[in-house]
Symmetry: D3
Subunit: 315 residues, 6 copies
């Protein structure tokens, strides 16, 4: 028996033991009047229906989203695999679990990425912009290390926002050099760092850290307006001159490029124009990366919703 | 000689004396090497070119936008009227001037309008929404009495914002009654009052109070975001619960209805949906009122830019 | 046993007796060769599958859409409730049935609403417009009292058109007062009354009065063109001057505001501009009213097709 | 001296005598206090400014749009040609004038074109459709022979509507044969004949027969709705079954193809789909014909407003 | 027993013998461990599930898309017809099969159609254009006789491209006569012939000749660019002057009319404008022909994807 | 006297001697019957009207666009500066002229830029892609060193295409490193080098090397299709496998990103997606660079046509 076997590798007859995510759980009553647990178990590789017969608890609906330890056997029901659970309990405080096997995690070292971000922030020449960045990083560091950048479109995994921001900062740094006579490097890097911080309050998250939905505030205001508002407060508290605060807010408010894509205002300076293009580059390259991972060479994908088109995997 | 004769009534040969706006002014040198003042004078009814020969000051470019007192004679140059100025000076501190003859003014009594607004605000049942409204009215009262709501599109005259808001509040009050089971009257009236306050900082104004242009902040952030930000601050300072603050901000951010028309987010509750329609009604009725004023019955107007169409004046 | 129990309240084991709508019905043959009735029964609260075993008629496909009286028992089949019918017959001429329990009905008193409409029509000052309104009301009164304003989008219930028109007339009356110097009250009220009368021939209706589909004429011409055509005839028959007839037709042809939303021409006078906005207000407020009825406070709805967005139910 | 010399051929020093259109005329007073006539004269080839010195009438503003006989000499003023008039009078009842030299006329024989149209109408197999066509032709024959199909876009000349309709009928006849199993030839030809008849009341015309503007009715209702309305009346008067009348109205209401291009409804049957394409073909080929007439081979035109692009004249 | 009975006519109890297309095939194992063939059989009229019990080959997945001969009996499984196969083999080299019963075929005589195309090509007056057409016809003749013009939208059957092109050439010939002073008949006919030849390499085809998908090249370049490229080569090889080659390429590149519909450039000469309209006519008439075939008179269709609307079948 | 004084620095009374571009020239006749030259002279800084009195040649219309040497005096006519020419002749073969003072030139060292491009091409790992790049560079080197990338929008100066391509290659090189697991560096760099080569034949150029207009071929085919066609030829001649040739063509055909912006197909692989974004970045940064050059800090520009918005110059 393989411990913690990936769900996508399970086959009829397998005995299973290990930690999985309890995505859904309900205590039901069978036609013979007996209680049973109807559950969906998941790991990073997929999901499987599961039943614990003659089971009335304690694991149940209240534990949805938590990690459970279980033992069971794989069978088949109406043409699909089904796991019959023998034993199940909620993960204890001392259980050591490899989270990266259970939820998708960014393919990078978060410490290194955060260090790189911090170094780039420290390299911002303008004292005011650097002060706002430092203060914002301090306020958001914990979430910034771990939250996804989206539910599913791109970077929808643990560490997604950090990976997205770190990539964008590297590109911003490069382009600030290439277009040094047109672009203020300090403003560009500051805007890039700050542009998505408010995703922390735009979304709600599962206990495992994935995005579950938009928050009420997120739907009614949007992360652009929320982000600009926090930066305005932090800039005021740091004694930053108003024009600089307004420029930082403008960077955030316009980073979706066009009102049709959610921008509250259109980019009107070289740095905000560039930020919206850098954001597009990193978003789209990540969509390609994720889609190409499952696509054989020489084939077209299905239509990808976020791109509104198919893509091609060349040799 | 008619004192303060309206510019649109001037004819060749008239002697002119009175107060006018110095819309443009420049000291130039004639082909014979003599200095002269080339000016444009304006009142509410129109504008006229003017020259003061052999004149080197003190009135000049620095006085543009101010009110001057002058005396002169109307002649003709290349088919257009031209005023030859005999005497000109800037309006003194003691000169009594009828401002409404010089700049366009809302066709209403501002005291009565403000009183009506105040009464409606006082009638807001929800203590939190009323507190925010009262605080915002207190902060903005002076400007709210006098500023236009736009440069030219509609309500582009002294008192325009007050007239626009007062009309909208009356309609909001009526519709809150008609749709009482769907709409929260307190939220609708509060959002209506607050929706355009930030126009005070979105625009720059001439010394006579008309809109001259957008401010830097106005262009880069827009009055929706600025307005939501101030309301967030005021609500926090007043101890208003966050959900109510978010709803007020949402009302302001969405009152243009659609991102294509400048909304930062789309309306998502009955009150914000209604606010954007009430705003459309009052804006368009004012555009019609202004356009129909100059249009004979039975005729179509020229294409009106803000409506992207011609309109018809029926009998 | 609860008589006429609402379908949404039924549970396994209930005995049922009462009047329901026979939404679908077919006589089939079981695998054992016996005839049975497979039906769907509905009331205002929902629908349920039903079977009458060993039953060959007389109730069958020919009675679809009619009201039946039945007695039966609620069971379960493949996870869904199913009603086993013991007795069933078509509603007789003397059966007293509470229609409002079976089909959705406007939440208003139709007599009061019609009286309010009639009073407002009587208040139209212009003799010509009032004459057309009076003649049209007389031609359409029966249908106007009862037909829905749509199949599903909004006001899709008995009395929907009357409720929609009555609400709009109240708003038109209010706005005609607020914008009295720009708007001709007589024209606005007349256009409001007349704008949707042709829905009577644009749709086909079930025997219970609900919209089943578009008529051929409704699809090929649309209720705007049909409505304008009838008003042209009635106006001509009443000796109304042509300009007034043309203005009334224009009100009807343009009341969808924009060709993209079905307007045959764009509104070109203040009254038609206003009519299209009043129509939007009442349509959207009704969509909100219906959607909010099922939405708990603090939640967002699913995406609503007619609005192309989710809506929020605040506290 | 060349009698009735084309205006585009005039040169400084020419003596002119003949008939021209008095496009504009005004009696003015010179700086020396003498009356003179300031006029614009036009023929099919162009226009020229003209002056009659020391002239107070009788020809004046009241004669704008009429044909005058005059004698004069061509000079130059501020770099442009100017005609000094010696004698001028309004065309008398007995004066024989070649209208085709003064206003643009369709390049076809109107009698032959009308005969061809009449033959195709006579060939319509369906008695009902043919009856409506015959009745409509009889009602409109005089205008149909002569009015333009537009002000400027295409066919903006005397006989334009007849030329446009005759061409379209020929194409409709051909395509009805090619797609005989999909298309009802009678319906297609009838719709084609009728589609633009209402242009007669959509426009106002100068005394020489050219389109001067839209009529009030034309702006407020449009020729599609007006045309459908008249066909409905004529069909009813002829006892045509309602479905056929509705189909004819649908052909007219949908012939602009898409609401964005002015269609009141979208084409929903093969014949209306085809009619809208046949209309596009003839409109665009005429736009090309007119634009290519002035364009040397190997050159691109200026951007053509009605096509929103430049076109190319190949060898 | 009816030999080769159409699948849409099969009923429970029928014995079946004949040739059908093996659309899908898989050797599976039953719950009792026995091998069986699970297949889908198709002919022009429809498809049916089929099983061959205790069957391990030789017919299997490798034969998908081929024609098989079989014998079996029609039964029922879970409410749907199912064919139990007694004998099955792949069609042999000597089996005579009526292909038109198995796959959809254009309703025309391909020899006659090709002859008509050839005659029209021979009638092209311009030697250069005719030379390119003749060369291209020779290169593509085999495929041109048989390939469909699309997967499903229109002309998605054997011979579809030939039927589409032949119809369009007839219309081009007619319109070249009607607009002889504006249109170069040689260019119009040549562009019409050539416009879709590259569909041969834009698609991949099943062994029976139907379109299965886009080719890699077809997705990445499109048939417009591929077609223009081949014509450029052929024209160069034939010594055609460059302007003519460019015009032919322009015809092909612009024949979708608008970039939104896939045109690489917009039509800029009368012939390319006309070609795009002729293409629309034939495409849409074929969509109507196919949709009307299944639509009873007096009914509307479901929404047709390619037209984005319903269509109506009149009497 | 300052030799070759910049036109923007000229003032009344200046004596002028030096080389200028003869932008326009015409021999005219004065009112006194004497011939004179009416010309417009230009250098990089601006343009000025000029007259040579009593002058009949040899310099005239035939020399437009050439460089002339002249001597004259600056006066004033109707409020504008005017140069009275004393002597004028066409630049001789031995005259040494500083071209960069007369026409706009890219702010870079063309040798260094070309060397950088060549180095990056040499670094392409894939032999096939590198071969095509090398061959194309060899074919186009002379033009590639000097032609502008556009008439006016961006990079509309000598060396513009080289500057644009060199910048884009640097960014492509950087992003190929950042997204190394998603992007094929060889394909990205090759597509970037090749994407605009066909601008050489899309435009026509003045004798001084600036873009004057589109060529016929450029208008009818566009530089995307022309570029793909040449690359297809070169790839075939170099024995490059078809898939690689197709990918290169796809890069060129899709580099405008969206059909609405001129793309013949939409980008469907990571490299073409990235190329279109890199192109946007460099185009827009250059538009900002040019616009900001003339814009004081703290000011907004006029609306910039290519961006459809104003831009802001911050401190």
């Amino acid at each position: 028996m393989e411990y913690n076997k990936a769900i996508s590798d399970l086959a009829v007859g397998d005995t299973v033991e290990g930690y999985y995510v309890l995505r859904a759980a309900q205590i039901k009553t069978s036609s013979s009047g007996r209680p049973f647990l109807a559950a969906v178990l998941a790991d990073r590789s997929g999901a499987i229906d599961a039943k614990a017969w003659d089971y009335a608890g304690p694991v149940g609906a209240a534990n949805e989203g938590q990690i459970v330890k279980l033992r069971g056997t794989v069978g088949e029901f109406r043409g699909a695999l089904q796991l019959t659970i023998d034993r199940i309990r909620v993960r204890g405080a001392n259980d050591v679990v490899d989270l990266s096997a259970l939820v998708p995690v960014a393919p990078m070292d978060p410490d290194a990425a955060l260090a790189a971000v911090t170094r780039l922030v420290a390299s911002i020449a303008d004292d005011d912009y650097r002060a706002v960045c430092t203060a914002m990083l301090a306020r958001h560091e914990a979430a910034f290390r771990s939250i996804p950048a989206a539910k599913t479109v791109h970077h929808g995994f643990i560490g997604g926002l950090l990976m997205h921001t770190a990539n964008m900062l590297r590109t911003a740094d490069f382009l600030a050099g290439l277009y040094a006579d047109t672009v203020d490097r300090s403003l560009l890097l500051a805007g890039t760092l700050l542009h998505d911080f408010a995703k922390e309050s735009e979304f709600t998250f599962s206990s495992l850290g994935l995005v579950t939905d938009y928050s009420v505030k997120g739907e009614l205001l949007g992360h652009l307006v929320m982000g600009a508002q926090e930066v305005a407060e932090v800039a005021a508290a740091s004694g930053v001159p108003e024009e600089k605060s307004v420029l930082l807010q403008h960077m955030i408010l316009s980073h979706h490029g066009d009102p049709a894509f959610g921008a509250a205002v259109r980019p009107m300076c070289a740095e905000s124009e560039l930020l919206s293009l850098i954001d597009q580059i990193d978003s789209r390259m990540e969509i390609y990366r994720e889609a190409l991972a499952d696509l054989p060479a020489g084939k077209f994908s299905q239509k990808i919703f976020a791109l509104d088109k198919k893509i091609y995997s060349h040799e």
